[in-house]
Amino acid sequence: MLSTEAEPSTPAGLDAGPVALRHNRRHAHVVRAGFIPLIDVAVLVAAAEQGFADREGIRLELIRDVSWSNIRDRLAFRQFDVAHALGPMPIASQLGIGSNPYPSFTPFALGRGGNAITLSVTLYREMAALAGLSGTEDALTNARALKSLIDRRQASGRKPLVFGMTYPFSSHNYEFRFWMAAGGIDPDRDVLMTVVPPPFTADAMAAGAIDGFCVNAPWNLIAVERGVGRVVATKRDIWPSSPEKVLAVRPDWAEANGETLSRLLVALDAAARWCDAPENVGDLAEMLADPAHVGVPADLFRSLLRGRFVVDPDGTSREIPDYLVFHGDLANFPWLSQARWVYSQMIRWGQASFSQEGLARVEAAYRPDLYRAALGGSATPIPLGESKPEGSVAGHSVSTRKGETRLSPDPFIDGRTFDPEAIPEYLAGFDIKRSGALGPVSE
């Protein structure tokens, strides 16, 4: 790794000219980024392939991996400088929970959306028959229908359903649980939760090993395409603002490479903007389809990126505008309020306990200060605050350096809102939670 002394004296902005550009390329700072093959690696792929990283004097090396545990460990042990990680991972690392928790933090969220909950077609048909579903119901109605079916299965002594997600500290785990609990299902008592790596979800469902799963795109669509799965809810239905993937950074690397990190964020901001533009959908889909990246057909990515896709093997489709947001709605800003929401769910399900010390650690995991410092000069509106009430039916208004910005509505599926200053009160309002949720963890 080059030291900061080797930085070219000319800033590599758009006005730097071809000489500076060549200079940069020759002395390019190599940044190694680990990733998992999922649609939301898009911003990193676009930064590497569309010249956004290059323009900032960075050679972004993307290294594909197979598990979130590896992402965490290879980041901790310096095989990666940064990584495509689950939003809750830096929080878990700062709280010291889970295996091998070496600290990491995030200065940049890689976008929103992409997650969905898929049930096996057999299970869906059974609950549709029981609850009289026509197939066009919303996610909450589906959750309640599943609850009725689970009650009936329990009464007749059938085995509990087995549901898969991708990692204990993941949006998938919390969203799946949030959705079930909103429908009256206790995810720890009424069903069995297990981990299934994303590429295996459709196979596991086809083999009857799992009855449902929550995973990011494109794996839900692959299960539908294979005729084994039925999408019953998406992230947008549960909570559109739920933090999805983030750029996880190792603290010692950030310390030694402050300038490079800053430039990387500038590159990612530009790449995220590019990914949101409708005219780039075709190119982005091709890039993601490359076997070195995600390696599934570009057609699937095109329909996901356009938010129009089939949810049932019988051909029923859904149109979800903004199913994936890479840049708009301040999607890259690491809101402390969203980190606090993740913390609330960790407490709710017995992974962590609530304390002021815990809150301080949670806030060390999300670094809006670094985002602001790096992108202060960009065209992207930068919020003046670091927290906001989460879950607004009307759409929250945020003050930025460029004036007021109205964000899209982001209601929670249960209709409640989250006040980041009132976590205990928020948790008290849930009927379904672990008993230790507000005191020391006992389970």
Binding site: V66, R74, Q79, N100, V196
Partner: protein, 191 residues
């Protein structure tokens, strides 16, 4: 001391089991089928679990440890954070280990060290095999390139090889790479 090795590749599993036996660990269970992982682990009740980093089931394993009521005893990665050199060496070698909480460090260390050295040994073996394969492929392509040159330039076999060798020297590339270019070019020119 019971050790479970979660490994799909039977050759690597054999090399590892062999190494552990030499280190005096006789109770080693290889879990190769991915189905029934939890059932097998519960039956074996291992003190140490070894799993390669390229195995996506690591996330599955860690979830099992989270839900401690499912696995009989909670398990932590390695022993603690004091031996970072060994952990780094393990990550470099592509191996990870999970150890039952409270197990003495001096009992775990030789197991992890054996796993690291055996994973590295398997890697070397794999590389040698790949190198041998690519050398064989290189020799084949050189033969084909020589044939093309002999036919198009009307030269002897020795002269054809000399042409390839000189071109490689000038371009600072391997003879096999130049030969590949010749073969590719010839196929493009074919009608």
């Amino acid at each position: 001391m019971h050790v479970a090795v979660i490994e799909e590749n039977s050759v690597r599993a054999a090399i590892l089991v062999d190494g552990l036996r030499e280190a005096g660990i006789t109770s080693v269970e290889v879990i190769s089928s991915t189905d029934g992982l939890l059932r097998r682990l519960t039956a074996v009740d291992p003190d140490v679990i070894i799993i390669g980093l390229e195995n996506p089931r690591r996330d599955v394993l860690e979830q099992m440890f989270q839900v401690s009521k499912v696995v009989s005893r909670p398990v932590a990665m390695f022993v603690d954070h004091t031996d970072t050199d060994m952990i780094a060496a393990a990550i470099d070698a592509g191996v990870s280990a999970y150890v039952v909480d409270g197990l003495r460090k001096d009992r775990v260390k030789p197991i992890v060290e054996t796993a690291i050295s055996r994973f590295n040994a398997f890697d070397r073996l794999q590389r040698e095999l790949d190198a041998a394969r690519s050398e064989l492929a290189g020799r084949k392509v050189i033969e084909r390139a020589k044939g093309i040159l002999m036919k198009t330039r009307q030269v002897s076999e020795e002269e054809a090889y000399e042409l390839l060798r000189r071109a490689a020297m000038n371009d600072k590339r391997k003879v096999a790479d130049i030969a590949q270019s010749v073969v590719t070019a010839a196929s493009l020119l074919e009608k």
